[in-house]
């Protein structure tokens, strides 16, 4: 639902410049354009709330700011939507500065992006909220900016954030209006063509320089409707995000859809039926700023003694004890699209890594975890991610925030098989089984057919590269759906791809063959029949379990050859010859040979210094213990890592 909105931003990827700062800002009303299609679906419950804008001013709190001073008509909840790198976070920094939420200094860079990974990659991974106080026409408005991630992988986060908004800003990069290759006219034309948004409604801004940023805030007040929530209704709030604080437990981000909630109130989770006492609540500016009460239409945080993130399920509804309300519709849980094994570099790190993964999952409920173990890599997990960037970000957060060193195996996708016999169906409890691990791949004789996940991919590139891109897509088993010019020399191509074909290196190849100009985005496109086979890898005739892969028949030969070569390069020579083979069933389809060592002995122990030699040998002996023995072949962990890891 929200995806079309997102995908469309891929249009402007060719303009990507890391520090691009000019944006065309488009403010949309809920009632028009694609934004409405998003909000309508996400906000069914909002419509049912009567548009009461009544406001009582009994606030007696001696807070630095009394939230009762902001009735719904002076509240605007909005998000900024932009493609990665288009400068959303820079605009957010300026908005924070203009409204005095943060001091205006040169060092304000990506203030809302708190994670190291966000700052390093210049991306937003975790949605953040900032309440801004804005003077407009002599009145103070409460503008709640809910920053969202810009990548399709994080659309789940985005959809949650949007559910708490009544409007969004759409940012499109026009390649720096202040530079000479800026081309705002063309970008406006593209926006008109793709989104059907009149070009007159766009605002040309430079977030870096602050040009026209104030106008953005004026338009937010003028063009985004206030929330439709009544302060005299029963308290009702949507949990749209949650984070975990080691000292205070779960911090839930809520949007108040009716009534009010105060410190000391007893609230109930509609999902679990458990009640909690509110220890602290407040607004995010963007740091936590405690207040006494939050009122209808407002957005803030609540800490209520929840020990586990599961207790603050995203999409859950909170209401006051003994004053139940109908639960707001929740969210569909995120669906993992890409799976990868994760193992500690050293097995002694397992416990530490487990606790790091658990902690990280508290803040990212979209990751799925299954315990797994590999004979070569030891105990670990099979993790499911929303996409490739999501996987990278998770891995990087583990390394940076928890100092954990991990091996991530090459990503795979969830295949399906339709079972052939009633007996098998009974055994598995279902007719269609999902296969994540090649070890569980059912034999052809047991299935009617295999299915593989598909995606609808959109590529936009200058037309110089069309030919190259089309042949690349062909090698990836892609089927072209359509292709059209979005301007004089820019082409948008849509293809259906098997997901498996794009999870490893497709994007890198696309980027390099188009000198970085091509953009790529994809969305789920269901499952399709596929000729899948399981390929084994043998060392001197013995299959190596952890190397087996599921692959499309067409790709078996080239993949088998490539993996055999990688194995050949990463298994050290031994005292005998080693045959490395790829096999489908009993048929060998590729072979490499690792020649035997012919000499491995070195000279002299100078002056009786045998200590050094002994140390080296003992180290080798220890290393040998850790190697995985297949037949009489010692395979070091590194060899597995080289073959299994993401390249």
């Amino acid at each position: 639902m929200h995806l079309p909105l997102f995908r469309s931003h891929g249009l402007f990827l060719p303009f990507i410049k890391r520090f691009s700062d000019i944006k065309i800002c488009r403010i949309k009303r809920r009632s028009q354009g694609c934004m409405s299609s998003c909000t309508v679906i996400r906000h069914r419950w909002m419509k049912s709330i009567s548009p009461v804008r009544h406001f009582s001013s009994n606030g007696s709190e001696k807070e630095s700011f009394d939230m009762s001073e902001f009735p719904v008509e002076r509240i605007r909840n909005f998000s900024i939507i932009a493609h990665i790198d288009h400068g959303k976070s820079t605009l957010a920094d300026r908005l924070l500065e203009i409204t005095g939420a943060i001091a205006k200094t040169a060092s304000n860079k990506q203030v809302l992006d708190k994670l190291q990974v966000e700052r390093e990659r210049g991306i937003t991974v975790k949605a953040q909220t900032a309440s801004l106080f804005y003077q407009h026409d002599g009145q103070t408005y409460l503008l709640n900016l809910i920053d969202t991630p810009g990548h399709v992988d994080f659309s789940y986060e985005v959809s949650r954030s949007i559910s708490a908004c009544q409007g969004v800003l759409l940012i499109v990069d026009a390649n720096q209006i202040d530079l000479k290759n800026a081309d705002p006219e063309r970008v406006e034309k593209q926006i008109e063509k793709v989104f059907d948004i009149p070009r007159e409604e766009c605002i040309r801004i430079s977030a870096k320089l602050g040009t026209n940023v104030d106008q953005v805030l004026q338009e937010v007040v003028n063009r985004i409707p206030p929330p439709t929530a009544g302060v005299d209704d029963l308290f009702k709030a949507l949990v749209f995000d949650s984070t975990f604080d080691h000292y205070r437990g779960v911090v839930a981000s809520i949007a108040v859809f009716g009534g009010r909630v105060s410190k000391g109130d007893k609230i109930v989770s509609a999902h679990l039926g458990k009640s909690y006492e509110v220890n602290e609540l407040g607004v995010l500016r963007p740091d936590q700023h405690p207040t006494e009460t939050l009122y209808a239409g407002q957005v803030g945080y609540v800490i209520a003694g929840m020990k586990e993130v599961k207790e603050a399920q995203i999409g859950d509804t909170f209401y006051l004890h003994k004053q139940p309300v109908g639960a707001l519709p929740g969210f569909k849980p995120a669906k993992a699209m890409v799976f990868a094994g994760m193992y500690p570099m050293d097995q002694s790190e397992y416990t530490n890594l487990r606790s790091a993964v658990e902690k990280l999952m508290l803040n990212d409920s979209s990751v799925t975890v299954q315990r797994d173990s590999s004979l070569a890599l030891g105990a670990g997990w099979r993790l499911g991610f929303l996409g490739l960037l999501h996987m990278e970000v998770f891995n990087q957060r583990l390394e940076q925030e928890y100092n954990a060193s991990v091996i991530i195996t090459s990503p795979t996708v969830p295949y399906k098989a339709v079972l052939a016999s009633a007996k098998l169906i009974k055994e598995h409890g279902e007719e269609v089984i999902t296969i994540i691990n090649p070890a569980h791949f059912p034999d052809r004789s047991q299935v009617v057919k295999y299915l593989e996940p598909m995606v609808l991919g959109t590529i936009i590139a200058p037309d110089d590269f069309t030919g190259k891109i089309m042949s690349l897509c062909q090698t990836r088993r892609a089927v072209q759906k359509n292709m059209f010019y979005i301007d004089d020399h820019r082409v948008m191509m849509k293809y259906t791809f098997p997901l498996n074909e794009i999870v490893v290196d497709f994007y890198d190849q696309l980027k390099s063959m188009s000198s970085g100009y091509a953009s790529f985005d994809y969305e789920d496109a269901g499952y399709e029949d596929a000729e899948l086979i399981k390929m084994d890898f043998l060392l001197n005739g013995r299959p190596v379990e952890e190397l087996a892969i599921i692959i499309h028949k067409e790709k078996a030969y080239s993949a088998g050859k490539a993996i055999c070569e990688r194995l050949k390069d990463s298994i050290p020579r031994q005292m005998f010859e080693i045959a490395v083979q790829a096999a489908i069933g009993s048929k060998i389809i590729a072979r490499e040979t690792i020649k035997a060592y012919r000499k491995n002995v070195l000279a002299k122990c100078y002056g009786g210094d045998i200590t050094r030699k002994m140390k080296l040998l003992k180290k080798q002996a220890e290393g040998k213990k850790k190697m995985r023995r297949i037949g009489n072949i010692d395979v070091p962990k590194d060899a597995f890592i080289n073959v299994l890891k993401r390249t």
Binding site: K599, A603, I610, K618, K625
Partner: protein
């Protein structure tokens, strides 16, 4: 004359692998001490060189000035201290290594040998080797070294190719090398060894073979053959890393090693160790001592030793290292009588590990009697015989275990470094299966700092 005959006699048949050497076997069943604790060989390290060779990362110093008198005094002092500490009654051989010990004054050598004689029995027959750099100066002093008591020369000719010698940054050329060998052979017939290196930058199998061909007619009865090892931190390492020079790959060096073994054997040399070849049984007794796990005392900066410090009540063999830097070492010797920097006690398993690793380097391997000396309670067959991994090596024709003992086959010797980790693991597993109390384990890896 008579000494040479005697040496030859007790070294006879070594190539056939039946003799165990000159020293009668003794069981340690009646001793608490490790075998042969009352005898040792002596290694003396001379740490100075004139020039830095591009491949060498050994402990050596290019001095601006050198006080021979102080050095002599300290070497003597440390020799005396350590001999007394070990309480050995006999020194079986002496080896002056370096550095460039041929830069030492002959009087220094004489003084050290004299100290040895004063503190232990040093037989007239005992092998006394000096490493020599084949420079004109080295050649000129050979005679004086002989008079000082040296009776064997080990000449580091390294190569007979002048281009290679330049790359290695040696301070001699091939002409000097040939002249020095010739002089040494005249002075000390049958007791001259040459060190040669292969796998040099730019070397081909063919050029290596022709170099050997040139060498064989001029060398004496002993050849040491070393593959050039690129050591981190050396100039040569950097040159190879940067691509300025390239060294032959594994397959090429394998062929080089193989052809050298073949050519030397055809020329009447017998390979008695991985890198060492002798004809007329002119083996290096000193080096055989290392490989047979005998005690040795290391004197001089950075020298290593393996002996039981009996004078302080020690009952276990220790791995000892002397202080590396000559100036510091000198100060320590002057103040404490010795410059021992590190002492690590070798427990039973640690000792057997060294016996295994060193012993398998020899052509004769480890004889049953030799092993029994160190491990009277468990023979080779008991430890290795049943192991699957060992049997694999045996079936593969790399190792031989029979009534004579344990040894590498001809092919196996070339693969020793791949074989040893397996053997060490087997030894470890045997110890674990027997539940041996490794009571000294906590000491094994602990450095015992000398009290100052």
């Amino acid at each position: 004359m008579s000494r040479r005959a005697l040496l030859k006699q007790h070294q006879a048949l070594l190539c056939l692998g039946t003799a165990v050497g000159s020293v009668p076997l003794r069981s340690i069943a009646t001793h608490r001490l490790p075998p042969r604790a009352d005898e040792a060989s002596l290694y003396v390290h001379w740490p100075y060189c004139l020039k830095r060779c591009s491949y060498c990362n050994f402990n050596k110093y290019i001095p601006r000035s050198q006080n021979h008198a102080v050095m002599t005094e300290c070497l003597q002092k440390e020799t005396q201290t350590l001999l007394q500490l070990s309480q050995v009654s006999r020194i079986s051989s002496v080896f002056f290594g370096g550095g460039t010990p041929s830069l030492a004054q002959p009087s220094t050598i004489a003084a050290v040998l004299e100290t040895v004689s004063k503190n232990a029995h040093l037989s007239d027959d005992a092998e006394v080797t000096l490493e020599v750099n084949p420079t004109p100066a080295g050649k000129a002093s050979l005679k004086d070294f002989m008079l000082a008591g040296v009776n064997r020369f080990s000449i580091g000719i390294q190569s007979l190719n002048d281009d290679h010698l330049r790359i290695l940054r040696r301070d001699h050329n091939s002409q000097h090398a040939l002249q020095t060998v010739s002089e040494a052979r005249t002075l000390c017939p049958g007791r001259v060894s040459v060190d040669v290196m292969f796998a040099l930058p730019g070397q081909s199998v063919k050029s290596w073979e022709s170099e050997l061909e040139k060498l064989l007619p001029v060398c004496d009865d002993h050849v040491s053959l070393y593959q050039l090892t690129l050591e981190r931190g050396t100039q040569l390492y950097k040159q190879v890393e940067s691509g300025e020079l390239s060294v032959p790959g594994d397959d090429v060096t394998a062929v080089m090693y193989k052809s050298a073994r073949r050519d030397l054997e055809n020329a009447g040399f017998c390979q008695y160790e991985v890198s060492n070849f002798a004809k007329n049984n002119a083996v290096s007794e000193h080096n055989i001592g290392y490989w047979r796990g005998h005690q040795y005392i290391g004197v001089g900066p950075g020298a290593h030793g393996r002996f039981v410090p009996r004078a302080v009540g020690g009952a276990q063999r220790e791995a000892r290292t002397q202080t590396l830097e000559p100036d510091v070492w000198i100060r320590e010797v002057q103040h404490h009588g010795h410059g021992t920097r590190r002492r690590i006690q070798l427990d039973h398993r640690g000792l057997l590990e060294e016996v295994l690793v060193m012993g398998l380097r020899m052509n004769e391997g480890i004889t049953q009697q030799h092993w029994e000396l160190f491990s009277p309670e468990a023979d080779l067959k008991l430890i290795f015989g049943m192991s699957e991994n060992f049997q694999e090596l045996q079936v593969g024709g790399l190792l031989i275990l029979d009534d004579r003992g344990l040894r590498c086959s001809w092919e196996g010797l070339a693969l020793l470094d791949s074989i040893l980790p397996t053997m060490l693991l087997e030894l470890e597993m045997f110890f674990q299966s027997k539940g041996y109390q490794e009571d000294a384990q906590h000491l094994r890896n602990t450095d015992i700092q000398r009290d100052r």
